[in-house]
Symmetry: C2
Amino acid sequence: MSDQTKSRRRKRAPRGAEAHHRQIDYTELRSPFPIMKAFSDDRIAAIHTAALNLLETAGIKVLLPEARQILKSAGASVDDESQMVRIGREIVRAALATAPRRVVMKGGRPERDVTLELGRLVFQPGGGTPHASDRLRGRRPGTGRDFRELVQLTHHFDALQMVSALLEPQDIAPSLRHYFMIEAQLTLMDKSPFVYGRGSPQVRESFEMIRDFRGLSDAAFAAEPWSYTVINTNSPRQIDIPMAQGLIDFARHGQMVIVTPFTLMGAMAPITVAGAMTLSHAEALAAITLNQLALPGAPVLYGTFTSNVDMKSGAPAFGTPEHFTASLVAGQLARHIGLPWRCASGAAGAAADAQAANETQFGLWGCLLSGATVVIHAAGWLEGGLTLGYEKLITDMEVLQMVAELCTPTSAADAELALDALAEVQPGGHFFGCAHTMERYQTQFYQPLVADWSNYGRWQETGSQNATERATGIWQGILAAGKRPGTDPARVAALHAYITRRSAEGGAPPES
Amino acid sequence: MSDQTKSRRRKRAPRGAEAHHRQIDYTELRSPFPIMKAFSDDRIAAIHTAALNLLETAGIKVLLPEARQILKSAGASVDDESQMVRIGREIVRAALATAPRRVVMKGGRPERDVTLELGRLVFQPGGGTPHASDRLRGRRPGTGRDFRELVQLTHHFDALQMVSALLEPQDIAPSLRHYFMIEAQLTLMDKSPFVYGRGSPQVRESFEMIRDFRGLSDAAFAAEPWSYTVINTNSPRQIDIPMAQGLIDFARHGQMVIVTPFTLMGAMAPITVAGAMTLSHAEALAAITLNQLALPGAPVLYGTFTSNVDMKSGAPAFGTPEHFTASLVAGQLARHIGLPWRCASGAAGAAADAQAANETQFGLWGCLLSGATVVIHAAGWLEGGLTLGYEKLITDMEVLQMVAELCTPTSAADAELALDALAEVQPGGHFFGCAHTMERYQTQFYQPLVADWSNYGRWQETGSQNATERATGIWQGILAAGKRPGTDPARVAALHAYITRRSAEGGAPPES
């Protein structure tokens, strides 16, 4: 255990009104959690071998001709008619050898850089939802306004070290949507932006906007990841055109890719954890291989999102024992190949209630005990990803902040044992007033975000609000405060001019 | 990892209507969770030494003369005027040497026996609350009816392997309350009953009722623990009369004691985890010592319940990072002395909402990662123990059942890798209909208790109920089904005759 203790890491504000305001640094977390294994090491090796066999013999369908050509050039067996590509294990092994063990994502300022390697811990809010929901405005198709608000909420919380795709701003034309999403992320947040892989034209323009806003040359932009995307395979065994293009484009521009097969046990993947993870692993290996062939050493993360469906209705479930176990297996496979990796929490429930809270936290512990580097859908994700709930985001943030607290070791130094206080306070007494307490009471404990610890009478007097009801005022307060990152007005103006010009030219339609 | 897999442990009912009903055995759990350490081993040793020093030099106040006499006879330094007892470390070490490493609690039938040793995992519902709460009847002082209902709910769930004190039936006269509580537990449940340590007369009568109802001789009753109690010290450094009497009486009758200091950091214990755990450990060692001096080898469990208070209001908090860390330290101390032990989850929140769900589950993971043998307050505990919530009990049971699922290893055997299915299902296809799925779909996944996985439209159509609202129908259904243990009518009649006779004689008042 590090000798870095809570006492040392606590930053005290200058003397005065806020002299004893407690601040714990949530921006750079190292996981303190032990690793839990679901399978024996030899069975993990067997799954890895089975995945290599699957790619080598059955193969994977790759819809983009350029991607098939790259794989063919590396020695893969390609049938252009069926679009099937059979990738020999030596090709995969070579790609895994060039994939970096450590990636530093660049933020808008150095304090927002995020180091991604095994042992680190990074949280992302829920992402990719078509709908938004809150208690004031109800459930609705996601809009540009929702997207901007969610970027602001992500900016606010240090325990969200990275952003996700958040939600789909459906009121923005698809050919202009990438301008809108990049502009919001660059001006309302100083964390590294997410870029959708929806074809080369949008990706190229997104890179240009980020490059210029950060004041970088082409070479400086390509030298480090200033943005990232998520690549989902189309399970089973398929990589579609925009996803394949993303794997290539991001690599060639030095930007980060998180490869994430989304494999639901019993539906698009085998019904068993071992079978689903064999498929997920094979697909991830294929995508990483294409990415590394496009540029050896390109920043890439391994990833998984494997849960089960209700076999009666086909409805996906999250935060289940099967989801938890699949996360453990994914962590074992990630360590088997040595890469940093992404796992996922999330809730199936429709309401921001006890079920959804329990699902998200249960899934979260699966991620923590599997040694995940990045945990997506850690806050706000409802209905299996169909809705991003504002209140859910707040109540989930309480859990993430408490987990972040656990990442700072607690001191067991002699003074912390309180031997003087223990001898001083007599039976029948209390520790409220003793010197050991007085020295520490203003900064000792985690201060809750939304939890109300008052007794029942006091809770009734203040309106008998449940946590979800109280959360409304919290996200409203954050948005009203309007905390903004420092931005250069000239670069903001240049960004807006770029967007105006490109929009007038018709934008760039997504490709599929 | 054991070769005992989910497939093997699954008990299939006979062919017919229920041919594919899924049943996982939740009655005997072994923890699959890795141990998380908060402090280094040498700092744990330092806390153990500090606790021994505290008992030896500052001492502990023991209000019961008989208890002071027992400790004095063993060599402790006793001041009868101040009631302070200073216990030398050799006396404590001798007591720890006689305390058993393994205790088998006897249930009403062999399937309900519970083995308690390091590595096992046992859950108890919330206990000791003055109030009950549910959505139909609101929050109210606990009654005999509530107590009986909660015994029935405890009987229903296999994942509650032990009962707790549940709630205080305040409408039953204190001098008759032990009759009522023991009768309910013996006739409505076949798990081992909880007996309050409220002075020798009540304890002796409780033992008589249990002995006769189980059809045991005095010797057979004393040979194994057929009941148990919880002994709370009065922190800081005091053992009151009924608690000291309980430590002696239970030992002499061979019944189990769970020693649990209840130390709130910043209030009745030092504000630091290390300080609070030094105090908790010292008090636990003193109580275990008295218990083992009364009968060497008597069944006893180490225990802790250490959380923090809100330093602004003094309100206790649960499921906090500090609570979590204290649990880890308690687990390290328990393994340092080698005893099975009890830890606690629980919620501070007043409502059965997302806050309370998150607090209970966060506290639960602290218990699981600290290797707790018994987890109390794992379901239903609200308001820091002032209320037992019926709906909260149901939503918490979902989490406990999911944890219980994780205790059965998942198979990674060759057949589970689904290699045939992976080769069979082509890109663009799905696994719903393949043989590998068809063979397993009826029993593969955990079936939720209260979670609703239906989509938003369907959820709306069925009333837009949150999990807490749905939970009402579930506990009502369990109570309506009225599942009862098998009982011998003659013994029930004898028990009732005993209670009628003793009640007519005035009962037995609690002692304090």
